[in-house]
């Protein structure tokens, strides 16, 4: 066990949660206590490395839409779409309107399936079954036992989102469908019927989940106040009218009062206003808003941020929910616990937009590709992944071979906020050497609010054994916990 080399904390205790459960990928949380047993600091760090940004060098740009989705088996669509857009920029083309709509339809399917997975499988066991339910029951199986209809409905909702991806791309995971210049194929008539047929059930499940969450929110006021409730910036894409945007548009930053501090920022020039700091103890980079410097320029992305930067959702039912949601904040909604609520509203918005697309004749159009060669030596593709804004930044040579890649991942952009969330929760629950299971779960649950995908964030994959150890200042073990 290592003793912290920081002289201030030289007599302090460290609590390690390793790995965090029920998130995508694996991570470790280190909580540093001072001599009095109070939380001095907390770090959420990732110890796996995979290296996509390096081994893509030398590959043809056109291959990137096939390579980068392999970063993750849960959100490959997000990488597929951002990569294709980076290719569009390098080719300097405007893709046909039908292709843009079809890409959007796939992204909406991705939002539905990812948010459904996050809510029903990963997060709902905590706030629907109760924080103090024994761990062996506080999981999706506990949810199935407590409310089998809800559990089945949640599975089918995720399945619906995946079906949209499969109908468009030919398979649910890693569809080779979006390419630089457009997409390979339209929606078929059979596919349109299939999607239309499943919409009513999807709406019903989402409305039910929203009702349920609003009820449990009343029981979890404490969590809402301390699970990542702090001032920060928020960033996301907005449409030309300042509305909710998931695939195009321009970038906007707002602060906790809801004031717009930067607007209509060109995503192609993201590195002019977003810097990336590197932590010595993690492979997760820490992006920040450059004008405010590091770490004051911390910002959040994802559902909570998107609903804070937007002025409306653009569809009637989601707009009603959006108005109620925004009442929970003074300007912006600042509690990370309410990411769960924002996710459900985004599912609703996605379903309403999917429904509209089913009546759009462009969905069946065969005009889907723009052809061009290499016209620029750098292109940035930006899309709102379910977890937040995703950037694919490619530099190529004149032959279109990749020279340099930078991937700014949604979860990475929430890194600083996740650190702060862990520290905030730990300050409320950690005292001395008494570690309860439910307390540890609250710290982990704070991370789960962000629905992090660590496979993407470090472009990593792997498994780690769980071993939580609390040591006193002399290195003696005070308490140990293992999760298999």
């Amino acid at each position: 066990m290592e003793r912290d080399s920081n002289p201030v904390a030289s007599m302090s205790k460290r609590i390690v949660i390793d790995p965090v459960t029920r998130i995508e990928g694996h991570a470790k949380i280190t909580i540093q206590l001072d001599d009095d047993g109070n939380v001095a600091d907390a770090v959420f760090h990732v110890v796996e490395f995979r290296g996509f940004e390096r081994f893509c060098e030398g590959r043809p740009m056109a291959e990137m839409a096939g390579i980068t989705p392999r970063i993750c088996g849960i959100c490959p669509v997000s990488h597929l779409l951002a990569s294709a857009k980076a290719g569009d920029a390098i080719m300097a083309v405007s893709i046909p309107p039908a292709a843009d709509k079809l890409r959007r339809l796939m992204n909406l399917g991705q939002i539905v399936q990812s948010h459904a997975l996050s809510f029903f499988h990963l997060s709902a066991p905590d706030f629907l079954l109760g924080w103090d339910t024994p761990p062996e029951k506080r999981n999706v199986f506990g949810l199935i036992a407590a409310d089998p209809d809800l559990a089945r409905a949640g599975i089918r909702l995720r399945q619906f989102g995946q079906e949209i991806i499969e109908v468009l791309g030919g398979k649910k995971i890693h569809p080779a469908w979006a390419v630089p210049g457009g997409v390979r194929s339209p929606l078929s008539e059979a596919g349109r019927c299939q999607i239309r047929g499943r919409l009513p059930e999807a709406f019903k499940t989402t409305r039910l989940a929203l009702d349920l969450f609003k009820k449990v929110l009343k029981k979890h006021e404490r969590e809402s106040k301390i699970f990542g409730n702090f001032s920060s910036l928020f960033m996301g894409l907005v449409d030309p009218d300042g509305g909710w945007e998931h695939h195009g548009g321009m970038l906007r930053f707002v602060d906790s009062s809801g004031s717009v501090i930067a607007d209509q920022l060109d995503p192609q020039r993201y590195d002019e206003f977003i810097g990336e700091a590197v932590q010595s103890n993690s492979y997760l980079k820490s992006p920040y808003y450059k004008p405010l410097g590091y770490p004051d320029g911390m910002y959040r992305v994802g559902p909570l941020a998107r609903l804070n930067v937007a002025e409306q959702m653009g569809t009637p039912e989601a707009d009603r929910e959006f108005k109620a949601f925004r009442q929970l904040g003074n300007g912006a909604v600042t509690s990370s616990f309410l990411y769960h609520y924002a996710r459900l509203i985004e599912i609703l918005a996605a379903l309403e937009r999917i429904e509209r697309y089913m009546d759009d004749p462009d969905m069946l159009s065969e005009d889907l590709r723009a052809d061009a060669g290499i016209n620029k030596l750098r292109g940035v593709g930006v899309s709102e992944a379910p977890r937040g804004t995703l950037f694919h930044d490619y530099h190529v040579d004149r032959n279109g071979l990749i020279k340099k890649v930078n991937l700014a991942i949604a979860t990475g952009q929430n890194n600083l906020a996740m650190n702060r969330t862990v520290a905030q929760i730990a300050r409320h629950y950690l005292r001395g050497s008494q570690i309860s299971e439910s307390m540890l779960n609250r710290v982990e649950a704070g991370i789960r609010c962000y629905d992090p995908c660590l496979s993407c964030s470090t472009h990593a994959a792997g498994r780690m054994p769980l071993h939580v150890v609390l040591l006193d200042a002399d290195g003696a073990v005070l308490q140990e916990a293992t999760r298999s």
Binding site: G73, A146, P148, R152, I155, I173, L212, R463
Partner: protein, 168 residues
């Protein structure tokens, strides 16, 4: 729903890890009247639905460690169920299927040795050979299953989907 559900899974861009999908596709080409085939990257909760409707299931995957040849083992549901959407095993998925839908098929796990797991498409020459062995093993298993009397569908205790209602 056909009597036997074959689920072949793996990453086709990790060379021999694509054995599961490739063998499943080869089985699909046989167009067997009693066999349905699903090919996927990884096992996900949504597979519980078709699994719960099948009488028998065969999961096909590559196996790390090149020794031992093609292996076929019956699957036993774990006593304590757990399921991760990111990485799971067939037995856990069967338990998940039973928990959600009240039914899970009698199942086997057909694993083929992987010799090369580097980035790349296609199979190594040794894996190509085990692909043929795997196909033969599946045919033998299917013949054994065909000799088992078919269960009447009404005897299957699958929980039907019921209208969604708010929890109390």
């Amino acid at each position: 729903m056909k009597r036997i559900l074959v689920i072949g899974y793996g990453n086709e861009l990790r060379t021999d890890d694509g054995l599961g999908p490739k063998l499943a596709c080869a089985i699909e080409q046989l167009a067997l009247s009693d066999v349905a085939v699903l090919v996927c990257h990884q096992l996900t909760p949504e597979l519980a639905d078709p699994l719960s409707r099948a009488e028998f299931a065969v999961f096909i995957d590559a196996r790390i460690g090149a020794s031992g040849g093609v292996a076929l083992q019956p699957l036993v549901e774990p006593e304590r169920a757990s399921f991760s959407p990111h990485a799971s095993d067939p037995a856990a998925l069967l338990a998940f299927s039973r928990a959600v839908y009240g039914a899970a098929p009698r199942s086997w796990w057909l694993t083929l040795p992987a010799f090369n797991l580097t980035y790349g498409e296609g199979l190594s020459p040794a894996a190509q050979a085990s692909l043929q062995e795997g196909l033969a093993a599946f045919r033998q298993l299917r013949d054994r299953i065909a000799a088992i009397p078919q269960r009447r569908s009404e005897s299957r205790a699958r929980k039907a989907s019921v209208p969604v209602q708010a929890a109390p």
